[in-house]
């Protein structure tokens, strides 16, 4: 009777006549595989991450979603016995190519980790660190502006503006994570990778970060790994489901959560396994 798979977002309701167009892909992964010694953790993953969208990677523990995330900014390089095959392109450039400077890559692809890890420096220095080492701000006045702008975007400025010299580790969990997000955006990356950013936070702090992610969407492309699929449903426009190292299904979030095509996806999100 009723076909429930139609896409109805507030924007498309208002502009009933224009069809939604998909934004260009900023990250393209083709046939990516990851080996730890001889054990294969990730098999043949091909996915497009689109500009200005939040893409969520979901799946049960150990399915390879964090492993894939860490390939995008080559954090897997720091693990000795880890080997990456396949191709990952950012804006058309193969990031595993010989001429790529990993340090520069990581300035363009920021990362927020599961457990908030502010540096044991002052709040100001936390934000200023990235711009300093990449030579972004020239003098103190520029740096002050940059710090204020970053903290403002992360929704933290009002709370910390009169204690910028206090240590970053003295904030609450939710504030620390927002500080880490502010730190990541201070160097103006194109892409922000988030590895389960809310798993250590309470529901209110989580909601604030989800709202922040919504706001950041207009300027950054975000890839978020989460084991909380309701969060993926709330926050993302595209979702990819990983299982046992394979990318099982990817698509628009609404479709995945109302009518997934693969049995395994359906089983996972309805809580029949995982």
């Amino acid at each position: 009777m009723n076909d429930m798979t139609a896409i109805y977002t507030p924007e498309t309701v208002k502009l009933a006549e224009s069809a939604p167009t998909s934004p260009p892909a900023v990250v393209r992964a083709q046939g990516v595989g990851v080996f730890y010694d001889e054990k294969q953790a990730l098999k043949d993953v091909s996915i497009d991450i689109r500009k200005g969208e939040v893409t969520a990677l979901i799946g049960p523990s150990g399915c390879g979603k964090s492993t894939f995330l860490r390939c995008v900014n080559r954090m897997n390089d720091t693990i000795d016995n880890c080997r990456v095959v396949g191709r990952i392109e950012i804006d058309g450039l193969d990031i595993y190519g010989k001429e790529i400077d990993v340090v520069q890559l990581r300035a363009r692809v920021g990362m927020v980790f599961q457990k908030p890890n502010p540096f044991p420096k002052s709040i100001y220095d936390n934000i200023a660190y990235g711009p300093r080492i990449h030579g972004v701000a020239v003098n103190r006045a520029e740096m002050d502006e940059l710090v204020e702008a970053s903290l403002g975007r992360a929704g933290l400025w009002d709370e910390v503006k009169d204690r910028l010299d206090a240590p970053g580790t003295g904030l609450s969990g939710g504030q620390q994570q927002r500080l880490c997000i502010a730190r990541a955006i201070a160097v103006n990356p194109d892409i922000i990778l988030m590895d389960e950013p809310c798993s250590a936070l309470d529901p209110i702090a989580t909601a604030r970060i989800e709202e922040l992610i919504d706001e950041l969407r207009e300027k950054f492309t975000i890839v978020i790994v989460t084991h909380n699929m309701q969060q993926a449903a709330r926050v993302s426009q595209r979702t990819a489901f990983f299982h046992l190292g394979e990318l099982v299904e990817q698509g628009d979030t609404e479709t995945i959560f109302t009518n997934p095509s693969d049995e395994r996806t359906q089983g996972y999100i309805t809580g029949r396994f995982g």
Partner: protein, 433 residues
Amino acid sequence: MTDAPPDSQAPARNGQAARIRARYRAEKRFRAYGLIAIVVALTTLVLLIGSIVFRGHSAFVQTHIALDIRFDRAVIDPKGSRDPDSLRGANYTGLARAALRDRFPVGSNRRDKRALYKLISNDAGHTLREMVLADPSLIGTTRRVWFKSSADVDSFTKGQIPRNVPESERKINDKQIAWLDALTADGALEIRFNTTFFTTADSREPEQAGIWGAAVGSFFTLVVCLALSFPLGVMAAIYLEEFAPRNRFTDLIEININNLAAVPSIIFGLLGLAVLLNFFNLPRSVPLVGGIVLALMTLPTIIIASRAALAAVPPSIREGALGMGASPLQVVTHHVLPLAMPGILTGTIIGMAQALGETAPLLMIGMVAFIVDVPQTFADPATVLPVQIFLWADAPERAFVEKTSAAIMVLLAFLVAMNLLAVILRKKFERRW
């Protein structure tokens, strides 16, 4: 359940109660053992330190005797020229002896005269010479000058030579006792703080011996040791912990470093002797060579402590820094090293404290010589505090007994101070992460 007779539960409960009581008893016993161990350790410590303090505290004071010295122009400056060379060459000891004779006339009995002259230290002439050279206007005047007493007088005044034994069994004869009593009655005999102990180097005469020479020697040696072992140790630790790949070769290096930390220190002395002295022909008994030997010995300690401090920095900090686009070197210098610094400093200071107390390797490279001058540079012959203690412990004069214990106290004080410094630095630099 409801028909089980209540008594059938009782034996089980009794067994249970007995086990609980046994458990409590065992815990009390365990706690008692711990307490006993602590009490034994503290008692031993108190006894040890107590005996050292008891024997050594008297070395911090010294007896001084005052005499009225006539700075006789005829003796000091017969020509009246005030020529420094002639001033230097005059017989000042004679002046001191003359003063003694004036005070206690003994006639021409040689034995009595010797006994009289032995009341004061034989550097009395030296003291007077320095006074005149500093201030030639003293010539022709009479001043009261304080001299160090001789070692035997010093021991007597401190009660180490008893009065009530027969004369043949003591080093101070009755006449000397009478003279000393007279001086005491006149207020010409005082016990003052022993600055000589802290300002002079070793000497044959106990009353002129001090630890300053050994202290400076220790200082120079430690400076060389620190300058060599700290940078090398920390950089080696950083490389091994942060940058080196994990393979068989690096495992081998780690095993070797751990073993080196356990090698007896005298082996390093032998190494120093064979390589530094015989092969490179470096001078013997100098702080430079001593420092190199101690550095070799301290290096494994510093490397191990630094590696532990570096490993204790949580990987989340490194990941956070890497994620920001810091290069591996920046991660280490901007983040890991500052956080590991308290641990590294603690390990270094403890290593230095160990090096301060080392004797055996330094004996092998010859720092056991009798050095009377305070060393001025790294290449001057020197000795170190532990060796000085060792030498004085061997010396026959009774007065050196108290000096040995006093020197031990000084060494312990340095060690405590260094460990305290380690604790303070660690607290100061500790940062929560």
